[in-house]
Symmetry: C2
Subunit: 240 residues, 2 copies
């Protein structure tokens, strides 16, 4: 039977490899989940796939596992970034969770002119991505970056990466993904209130920017993020 | 300037039409939002579009408005049903909110063999759809039905309606929406744990069922609902 518990461990995984657990991990496995020596669980590190590991020492302050056999190779997501303007805490958490499930490789909170948040808890959002990967059975953890100004991100934009721009101002305009090139991409979701006129002018003028309409209804930023990632994956990503 | 407050009222809307407010609505407008006589807000009833209304009597127990002018006609969604197995409360609320934003016309919680919920609060979910419509600027409120067994829904299925079936067992199979007919559709999302073998056999045998893969990663039910609705709207709905 496949073990139910999945744990992210930032250690190399290989057959026979001993794995040290920190205090939080030990507390979770041995106090909360009540695993005992000999029990098995699934572990992954985002690089070496998913492994069955067996408990060899069960102390609540620092237990030990040994990796036994690989159950799945790592499934790398396509080279897709999600850029979004952070919103209320619960909905920002939601965006990170959904982007992880939907196979974004990098999650980049960006500050726009109409963004309310001045800072984010990058460490908390990264932990949220790890937890989402544990829950959804993934083997790759997307990198969550710290908050950066959109203007700065655009100023150093890599020449070979396309940008899918989803904004309320596009409502009614119809642009589909059909015919767009594959390769490195980013999806950009605006804040509530959209982009400023100056930001819209700048985005329209950039050669790597492609506008996408998400229909005639106004979507919340979190809905737009999930919808745009799904459309991209279906047409240009690894769902096809 | 466009009024910020949007309120759903289940009354006919026409120019000069007086509108009675119930106690909850009056409390919200006059105690919480502190509107006074002469202030304006937007109202809609799901049938007559969106109207500017002006406060003519501001009592916390029962105020009155008068409808002045229509700002937008009603935007009917395509003939799309969302069928889903109810999950935890917060995520069920989320599915109702997102289905409303994404333009589903009817939201149908269905009981499957692996559904944990035995009942839902239909009135609460319908109120949630109203609130989501108020928030997202919509003019149509989807109908939320009471929980029904999937087998019963399938037994009386309308002959002209296609069904898009999204299930974990489809992972890896590639079926796209391209080439599928337009017209009445429903999207069916499975519960955590998927459909039983018997349900899968039944669904595969039905002539109106089309399977859809949502990629190689396991999605939560709420993520799958948003992704499937977005893909349907982009290819077969009113986003194109």
């Amino acid at each position: 039977m496949t073990p139910k518990i999945r744990l992210h461990l930032d250690q190399p995984l290989a057959s026979g490899q001993p794995l040290q657990l920190d205090r939080d991990q030990s507390n979770y496995l041995f106090a909360v989940m009540r695993l005992e020596v000999g029990a098995t669980l699934l572990v992954f590190n985002g690089r070496d796939g998913e492994w069955v590991a067996r408990v060899t020492a069960a102390s609540k302050r620092g237990g030990e596992l040994v990796a036994e056999s690989r159950t799945r190779p790592v499934l790398m997501p396509p080279d897709l970034w999600l850029m979004f303007a952070p919103i209320k805490k619960a909905r920002t958490d939601f965006i990170v969770e959904k982007a992880t499930e939907l196979g974004a490789a990098r999650i980049m909170p960006v500050m726009t002119e109409y963004t309310n948040a001045e800072r984010i808890r990058q460490d908390r959002l990264q932990a949220h991505a790890v937890e989402a990967t544990e829950q959804c059975g993934g083997t790759f953890v997307p990198v969550v970056e710290d908050l950066q100004p959109l203007s700065k991100v655009l100023a150093v934009w890599p020449a070979d990466r396309n940008l899918l721009w989803c904004d309320e101002s596009m409502v009614g305009q119809s642009r589909s993904l059909a015919g767009l090139p594959r390769g490195p991409w980013a999806v950009l979701i605006g804040p509530e209130g959209g982009f400023s006129a100056a930001e819209q002018r700048r985005l329209r003028a950039l050669p790597f920017v492609h506008a996408l309409s998400l229909g005639p209804r106004i979507l919340r930023a979190d809905t737009a993020a999930v919808a745009a990632l799904a459309l991209w994956q279906a047409d240009l990503g690894d769902w096809g």
